[in-house]
Symmetry: C2
Subunit: 485 residues, 2 copies
């Protein structure tokens, strides 16, 4: 079976029937349809509703059977009791894939479970595959397909999401939007009545659009299969996973959320280690690690060089690196000598390299370069890059007389040039450069400015040194896994 071809009606449909289309702006039948339309889906959209003629400028069909053209994918947003007949009609129409948004199935108990089983039986008999029910939808950016509840409209990129929670998926998509990272696919798998997280994992493993897979899992349907797939996939494509329901309280909550059985947490941990899955502790960590995996080479070891524009941050980063299992390496005499050539005479001559005044005169780029070149260093953490670019902007609290001068301008230009030079430096030395600059302390408009500069480089900038250290350590662990260490 070629899973990519098999899944093409779901991920690269030429046409979508939207069953349960609505004119009521409060209903998902409107909101999701609106997202599909605004997302500029590259194909035909056929809203279905027996009572409407036109919604959002689209002709509405009274039933699926009356759509005059072939349909690849059905999106279903009708009340639960009506779902079986809709699916039967889709099957009759020859539709091969369906996304059931509707909630009110197995997550409510045995009644709902029976209804859900009926729906799956009907679909499978007709060779139709289903996502959901009780899900947020599916994004497939290659065809501008935004079948999703929240109006987030991420741009196309190489991150993929499999999520057993729509809201967690939304949180990840929102982070992508905020920091400038795009997505290939996003699947909110809901109750997984037919297609399971394992199926999506297999698809994404083969999917050429996807370079990093993120998974939020409350319970596996087939843990053995997940493990075997992951073990194969992580050899060429990283998987970053949150396994929720790790505690008894969490498992209970998961049961009522998506009817998932969480299983033993220590077994899951062991599985992750053996299969090379990177297990994240929360949503921020999952996004942070995944973003780095997109654009950073894996470090060959745990020896980290730190460059900082602020002393306290260097201390915090050193602590955080050691706590994360990294080695804040002793710099070689040769490296110190090279740094000596341009840093002020009173610089600290150690790791972290505290730039003091050197920051203002191109010192940041030179220091990063020297550390990357050093054979003692497997990768560099840079604290405060992009900060002068922010200082250069007019702060709301400044007097009118305090506008940017030539020196400030050149300082800003230098800082921006340093950021823009990073992709080349990273690729030249094949070592990661992990950035942390306190974005939260900046006014929102400054943060946006920094994001804009970084967006072009494709590099993620974290907020705290702790995050940078954690990401570096996770890359190092994955590297060790791949090398069989």
């Amino acid at each position: 079976m070629n899973i990519v071809r098999d899944f093409s009606p779901l991920f690269t449909p030429k046409s979508i029937a939207f069953v349960g289309a609505s004119r009521n702006r409060e209903k998902w039948g409107f909101i999701i349809l609106n997202n599909i339309v605004c997302g500029q889906f590259k194909g035909s959209i056929y809203p279905v509703n027996p009572k409407e003629k036109e919604i959002l400028g689209l002709k509405v069909y009274p039933s699926v059977s009356q759509i005059p053209e072939p349909v690849d994918l059905a999106v279903v947003a009708v009340p639960p009791s009506v779902v079986p007949e809709v699916i039967a009609e889709c099957v009759a129409k020859g539709i091969k894939a369906g996304i059931i948004i509707t909630a009110g199935f197995a997550e409510l108990g045995s009644e709902g479970e029976k209804l859900q089983e009926k729906v799956v039986r009907l679909a499978r008999q007709g060779g139709m595959r289903l996502v959901g029910p009780n899900c947020f939808g599916v994004l497939s950016l290659a065809v501008n397909m935004h079948v999703i509840m929240p109006s987030l409209h991420p741009h196309q990129g190489s991150l993929a999401i499999i999520s057993q929670s729509g809201n967690v998926a939304a949180s990840i998509l929102g982070r992508g939007n905020r920091w400038g990272f795009g997505f290939s696919r996003c699947i909110s798998s809901g109750n997984e009545a037919d297609l399971h997280c394992e199926d999506f994992l297999e698809f994404l493993g083969e999917d050429p659009e996807t370079r990093v897979i993120m998974a939020y899992i409350e319970g596996f349907r087939d843990g053995r299969r997940f493990f075997n797939l992951a073990k194969r996939i992580t050899q060429r494509k990283p998987i970053v996973m949150i396994k929720a329901g790790a505690t008894q309280a969490g498992a209970k909550a998961a049961k009522s959320h998506t009817a998932a059985l969480s299983g033993s947490d220590s077994a899951c941990d062991a599985m992750c280690k053996q299969a090379g899955i990177i297990r994240a502790n929360n949503i921020d960590e999952m996004f942070n690690i995944s973003a780095a995996l997109l654009h950073q080479p894996l470090p060959k070891g745990r020896r980290v060089g730190i460059v900082t524009v602020a002393g306290g941050w260097g201390v915090l980063a050193s602590d955080a690196c050691v706590a994360a299992g990294l080695d804040v390496v002793h710099l070689a005499d040769e490296t110190i000598r090279e740094l000596d050539e341009f840093l002020p005479s009173w610089w600290n001559r150690g790791n972290p390299v505290d730039l003091v005044a050197g920051f203002w005169t191109g010192g940041l780029r030179k220091s990063i370069n020297i550390l990357l070149r050093s054979p003692q260093v497997d990768g560099v953490i840079v604290l405060g890059a992009g900060f002068s670019a922010m200082l250069g902007k007019t702060s709301p609290s400044e007097t009118e007389s305090h506008t940017s001068s030539e020196t400030t301008d050149s300082m800003v230009a230098d800082d921006i040039a340093t950021l823009r030079a990073l992709p080349e430096l990273i690729s030249r030395y094949g070592k990661p450069v992990i950035l942390a600059t306190d974005k939260i302390m900046m006014p929102a408009e400054w943060e946006d400015g920094l994001s804009q500069v970084l967006r072009d480089t494709g590099i993620m900038c974290y907020s705290l040194p702790d995050e940078a250290a954690e990401v570096f350590a996770r890359l190092a662990s994955y590297s060790e896994y791949l090398n069989g260490d």
Copy 2:
């Protein structure tokens, strides 16, 4: 000795001499002076510079001795070699407090240490107390005193900062600005040549303007004194501390940063436990805990009720609560019955309380109320409050036709009303209500909207369930400490 009166020239000066005032907008001699002026200091400002006549509209004096009026506080931003003579002049003028911004003293080694000792000797002989050198400055908002490098201009409030890193202080101030929390005092203590962190701790302990003390410490000057002071202060005012230099690498970095000796980390941990100091792991955590301490009562135990508008978030919160040592309590039948009265029939009947559709119809406020009233619950974590307020705003990706309707408006009004009702609920039941709503996934302008609503209530809203759980657990631990558990 009355430490509050003793420190009045530093924290409530009637006049400031600014020695090293500059017209050069790149120099701290301009930037800090500008911050003092823009901050609308409630007193006289006397810039000192032999070569200038006027800066920022202020008359400039050639020397301290030529200032015609008495001066309480001197801010010193001249090169290190000139500092001793400036201090001698200040002493001659009868100035009782000084903030030395200038770097280049003990942090550079034995030469600088000698210079620093000389400065301290001169000051002490003249009864003048010093902050710094090598510091970011001091804020004292009661008199609008913004003697500080970055132009952050926080507003007046009840949080205080003692920091051995200016940048860490700036990060905390920035968080206050971002989330709407004000400050009483902020002291960047630098090299602590004369006044030590212990002195500031003693002052803040007595300071009526200060309700929560945050401390970023790389090394104590007198650990025993710090401990004794803290033990007394934490009985009536919480202290939240980051102790950096916890690892060998961090300690080494601290040594070159502020010449601090970090000491043993396990000893520090033991000290914190005995003195009731809340030890934070990073900057976000320190701010998160401190903000909660301002407006939340301490929970009487670890039994937490969770209300969520999103299933996945409930699962993550449950896991996070257990990991933080909290008890996701089994709700009493009575509580379930009360919730049954208005939640949809298919709600999960457990903790977390997943509001499903109830979210849209006042269910959030009712649920919080019922959980707070329940004797099984020591406090409530609320996930997703304020979210509908965001949904009600026009998303950039919506079509023009999709504007807010009456239902949306009432939903938004209800969500805002729920947030506004929280202070009263919290005080009625004497139990904490900790909020987490994913601010990062929101576009920046939505985040600002939420912040605006919360600003009026004085309540902090965290971003991830993990943060809410961690904060709840820290409040519970402090409560246990105070109760002698």
